[in-house]
Amino acid sequence: MTTTVSTGPAAGGVPAPPTSGGDPVRGVNRLFAVRELGIGLALVLLIAITTVVNPRFLSGQSRKDLMLGATILVVLAVGQTIVIITRNVDLSVGSILGLAAFATGKLFLAVPGAPIAVALLAGIALGALCGIVNGALIAVARVPALVVTLGTLYVFRGLDFSWAAGQQINAADLPTNFKNMGTATVLTVPVLALFAVAVLLLAGFYLRSYRGGRELYAIGSDPAAARLHGIPVGRRVFGALVVSGALAGLAGVLYAARFGTLDAAAGTGIELQVVAAVVVGGVAIFGGSGSVYGAALGALLLSTIGGALPVLRVAPFWQQTVVGALILAAIGLDRALAARVARRLRGRKARDA
């Protein structure tokens, strides 16, 4: 690749690309990959230590529990990443999840024999509807997503509460095959986790290899420039929020399948966990960079911490403290790596001179 550009006049004075032949982007990308690697490493370390302390941590059941525990957070984190990449945020996911989970219960109460696919579609549709409300407000009125979704966090939860009116739906009310989906495994991998994996791969593929996906990054990187560029910013942001809502709806159905007992409070406060997972996963909170894989790793790390601390017999009162400290450590580490990237860019310049 150096051959195509080596013809410039010497008088150009503009620094020539490095002659080492190394692909610099790959260099940059490699460093970014290190971010994800770092989280992965932390995860492995955590699992290793916990397993040494208590070998049962990796027993079949426990492994299954870990995967199940991460499932819902991963699904939400993927949706959240798509939104955050566009320099927006969706704080209403917890409320949407609660609404969809309760709706699933209601559906089965009304139609006891409803097929699982119908429940999934209904949950996704309801979530998408909530996402449409968010997206329309944000895109049409051009207002900050944080405020709108903080508002709908309250609104959706309030609606959920009035709808439920103190009712609780018990496991006994749910059809057996639906509950079985919550525990069934394929080759030791829980079915619910497969949903998360599918969502993750689809989103990852789209964001990396499709024009629409790249436009999301462009919007987050500089919304004004994106407008000048003719990117349909409103439509894309709208789309991102609808996807996030739909995924939260899906997460609600998965929640119903996994926990079985449903009331209007399902998923309360999970939004901060999701944002934390995404940020820990190296997605820039101000948009433009990061990947769903990182976010998924972040979610996995957080939920594994949640699972490992009781096993490590960390006193219950210390658990939240540890989670907070780890969030700080993760974003601190991320910044350190980013600084290294920046220094490398500068260093490259030095070599050119």
């Binding site: 004075g13 503009v14 982007v25 500089d222 030095a350």
Partner: protein, 510 residues
């Protein structure tokens, strides 16, 4: 395209366009024809309405009145996407890149080459970007993120982007403002070849030599109206200036001789690894010292470090014999430094803040009494300087972002000149400023020097450097390679040094 041979049939025509922003009439009944195979220049003072016109052609603004036709068919644009689809490529006055994305992606965003399943073909995209850069004669790595590119490099990416469209109409709003001679020449040869291939091109610049070198026809604008459109051959610079400004400009570089006093700024061995090395120089009071060099030579980085915005790894800076601690602009201001930065939108101004607050931001403490800023204090303080620099603005409480590029630059100048500095550093002080104001800025700088202020001027405009400087310091790739006195400074000597061909032994005095 058979129309090529019929100059009477414009490719793109704007007729009777008007546009107002609130109380400001940016455009009034302006008509403009762009013909295939022709480069059309648009000149005018700051705030004359050039960029507004560009944005109408680009679909960013919808005109309040007026019609746009393409090939004689009416074209109504609702957004930039429409203009793009109609084959109009635009380079905006201010670069609009996505900092997190790679240079190649910036060029091809939304038009990335695809492979099976409509996936993006990253390799092909990189390859095409390299070809574009080769055409422009620039060595930019398509894979590096756009973040951290200098203004000039950003502008080059914008140019590459516009070229990649193979557009029928190319609109360029001050594409050369940040470029130095070499890049400009490269750009022109590319533009000429596009023109010869039948494209219609609109070119905006405040540099008349460029206008006359490139353009076949020239439209002059003033106060939102079109003054005239004539073939370039029938005009000369003086006439152009008269039409733009409405009067004669007697002297563009009103340099008054001054006798340098004692040393004000003393920079010793300043080093920031990877950016500049061992930079040492002195500036005396009453002296204008120009920092010349090619784009990317590191001049801006040096002055930023001197002012304390960037940290440096070694060396020291002192003003009036007192050492200035690094990394703290407030300390620099305290000893009487002022820096007019090169990027007014990011660094010079707080875009959403009002004009008056911007103009007085640096004086917020000195204007306060008992720590309090009374009502109207800032307005009165700002008004004086805005008048002095002839800033064209609706209301001084409007956000500074509503000003035209040149008027924004004047606000930056007002903000710093009003601090009555001992040492004034200006980085590309007249970038995007029209002739009239440019002369005014130059006069101001001369006057300040005459009053004993030490002035450091970074400029990529050779005439400005030669016209204004008492001494020229030339940088090349992060090093100070030569010092040239006013008497010895000419285009050739500066360019030789800037391209690294300075004869040994002419190292600047330490």
């Amino acid at each position: 395209m058979p129309e090529h041979d019929r100059p009477d049939r414009p490719l793109l025509a704007l007729t009777g366009a008007s546009k107002s922003f609130g109380a400001v009439d940016a455009l009034r009944d302006v008509s403009l024809d762009l013909h295939p195979g022709e480069v059309h220049a648009l000149v005018g003072e700051n705030g004359a309405g050039k960029s507004t016109l560009v944005k109408i052609l680009a679909g960013v603004h919808q005109p309040d009145e007026g019609v746009l036709t393409l090939d004689g068919d009416r074209l109504s644009l609702t957004g930039p996407a429409g203009a793009r689809a109609a084959g109009i490529a635009v380079i905006y006055q201010e670069p609009t890149l996505f900092p997190d994305l790679s240079v190649a992606e910036n060029i091809f965003m939304g038009r990335q080459p695809l492979r099976s399943l409509r996936r993006i073909d990253g390799r092909l995209m990189r390859h095409q970007a390299e070809e574009l850069f080769a055409r422009l004669g620039v060595h930019l790595d398509p894979d590096r993120p756009a973040r951290g590119l200098s203004i000039a490099d950003q502008q080059l990416v914008e140019i590459a982007k516009a070229l990649s469209f193979d557009a029928r109409v190319l609109v360029m709003d001050e594409p050369t403002a940040a470029l130095s001679g070499v890049e400009v020449e490269r750009l022109f040869s590319v533009v000429r070849s596009l023109r010869d291939a039948g494209a219609a091109i609109l070119f905006i610049s405040h540099r008349f030599d460029e206008v006359f070198a490139l353009c076949q026809r020239i439209t002059v604008m003033r106060d939102g109206r079109r003054v005239s459109t004539d073939p370039a051959g029938e005009l000369d610079v003086a006439e152009l200036v008269r039409r733009m400004v409405g009067r004669e400009i007697s002297q563009l570089f009103p340099k008054t001789e001054s006798s340098p006093g004692e040393v004000v700024l003393d920079v010793r061995g300043l080093t920031r690894h990877g950016v500049f090395d061992e930079v040492s120089f002195q500036v005396r009071s009453g002296e204008i010292v120009a920092l010349a060099g090619l784009v990317g030579a590191g001049r801006s980085e040096v002055v930023r470090a001197v002012f304390g915005v960037d940290r440096y790894d070694a060396g020291e800076v002192s003003v009036g014999g007192v050492r200035v601690p690094g990394g703290r602009p407030s300390a620099a201001i305290a000893v009487g430094m002022a820096l007019v930065p090169e990027d007014r939108r990011q660094q010079g101004l707080v875009m959403e803040l009002s004009i008056e607050r911007n103009a007085t931001l640096t004086r917020r403490w000195s204007l306060s009494r008992y720590g309090l800023l009374g009502p109207g204090v800032e307005r009165r303080a700002a008004a004086q300087w805005l008048r002095r620099l002839q800033v064209k603005a609706g209301r001084s409480t409007d956000p500074v972002s509503t000003l035209s590029g040149g008027n924004q630059q004047k606000v930056v100048l007002a903000k710093w000149l009003s601090t009555t500095p001992k040492l004034l550093i200006v980085d590309e002080p007249t970038r995007g400023i029209d002739v009239g104001t440019k002369a005014e800025v130059h006069r101001l700088m001369s006057q300040l020097a005459a009053e004993g202020v030490a002035v450091v001027m970074v400029s990529s405009e050779l005439p400005e450097v030669l016209g204004m400087a008492d001494r020229v310091l030339v940088m090349h790739e992060g090093r100070l390679v030569r010092e040239i006195s006013r008497a010895d400074a000419d285009e050739e000597s500066v360019m030789l040094a800037a391209t690294g061909q300075a004869s040994p032994g002419s190292e600047p005095a330490r």
